[in-house]
């Protein structure tokens, strides 16, 4: 039935926006560091991560626009949707905090991202598998770098240890959302496009557990999860502020070509 095909496409669109909005918002956050990092080498490395994420955004949102078929390209989706249409997880939206918190957030995201992209390599949708193929190589490096930094800062000095433990306490309640599932995920699982997010949690906990142990940090016990980003029900207040900057020119001068 054509109705089913449409709803399938609608779910695929939603799924692709989730991937693209995560990388869009996190890439934006990481790019805020440019010129302000603790040392030049880290400044350059963070910019590389942000560049990868922006590149992935172009691919995911580009494909989302194609699937939607209404003539919206990646830029239209990034710059002309309002908060309620964003599908980024809340973890990507929270402010950078200090360098330690930024790297802890990066690590917690990278760990999920690498596992998730690993599954997408086998997606039944070749377009999805192709993007995952490219992105997973980039993300493998992000994970290596953020994990090493978390270990170094967790283990380094008393001050750095305390800061990293505090960062973890702040960010941990945002981890659970990445493993939530809903009707969109069910449709993706059914079509063989993507895995059930909940099925990845054990692997994630093992990976994160190993790194945190090396970092001499304690994994928080709580399982409470803030959510509402990936389904757009309730974003953080921060997202609106991100969009006021990100979308300013496109909104103030509609129709201009840049």
């Amino acid at each position: 039935m054509s109705g089913q095909v449409q709803s399938g496409d609608a779910a695929l669109f939603e799924f692709l926006c989730r991937l693209g909005d995560n990388t869009l918002v996190l890439g934006h956050r990481v790019s805020e560091w440019c010129g302000h990092a603790p040392v030049l080498e880290e400044d350059i490395a963070l910019a590389n991560t942000a560049l990868d994420l922006i590149g992935q955004t172009q691919l995911w949102l580009g494909l989302a626009g194609e699937v939607e078929g209404k003539g919206r390209d990646a830029d239209a989706l990034a710059f002309l949707r309002d908060v309620w249409d964003f599908r980024s997880v809340l973890l990507t939206e929270v402010p950078n905090g200090d360098f330690g918190r930024t790297l802890m957030r990066q690590f917690l995201f990278d760990a999920w991202h690498s596992i998730y992209l690993g599954r997408l390599l086998k997606s039944s949708d070749k377009r999805v598998a192709d993007i995952a193929e490219k992105a997973s190589k980039e993300v493998a490096y992000h994970l290596e770098r953020s994990a090493d930094t978390v270990v170094a800062l967790g283990d380094g000095t008393e001050e750095s240890h305390q800061r990293m433990q505090a960062a973890l306490a702040y960010l941990w309640p945002y981890v659970g959302e990445m493993f939530e599932g809903d009707a969109v995920d069910a449709a993706m699982v059914e079509a063989g496009v993507a895995p059930d997010p909940a099925s990845l949690r054990a692997e994630y906990d093992a990976l994160v557990g190993r790194v945190l142990a090396d970092a001499t940090l304690e994994m928080p016990e709580g399982r409470f999860a803030h959510k509402g980003g990936r389904d757009g029900r309730m974003h953080t207040e921060h997202l609106g502020h991100i969009l006021t900057q990100m979308q300013w020119l496109q909104r103030a001068y509609p129709g201009a070509s840049w």
Partner: protein, 94 residues
């Protein structure tokens, strides 16, 4: 305590099977981070497929004042260069 990260020299092998070449330096707390930093700093334009790093203080260098005795003696050994020998054209490629 002085906590400036040590200086590392970076050597990169490019795409085409050439030897590692010195490309520059950077700071890093240890060798592993030096390799990562080298990846981020010196291969942004697809310049390399392999990275060596060595802490700058471990490089032993020849002394500039030895330039004469070290390098000039080879100048007179012109017979080491293939162009020293005239081979008749009829002999073909050699």
């Amino acid at each position: 305590m002085k906590n400036e990260w040590p200086l590392w020299e970076v050597f990169i092998r490019g795409q085409h099977g050439m030897s590692h070449r010195h490309v520059g330096s950077l700071h890093a707390p240890d060798a592993e981070m030096a390799i990562k930093n080298a990846r981020d700093v010196y291969t942004r334009r697809n310049e390399g497929v392999s990275i060596w790093v060595v802490e700058a203080k471990h490089i032993a260098a020849s002394s500039p004042s030895d330039k004469g005795p070290l390098y000039e003696p080879s100048e007179s050994k012109v017979y080491r260069h293939p162009t020293f020998f005239d081979i008749p054209e009829e002999v073909g490629a050699m």
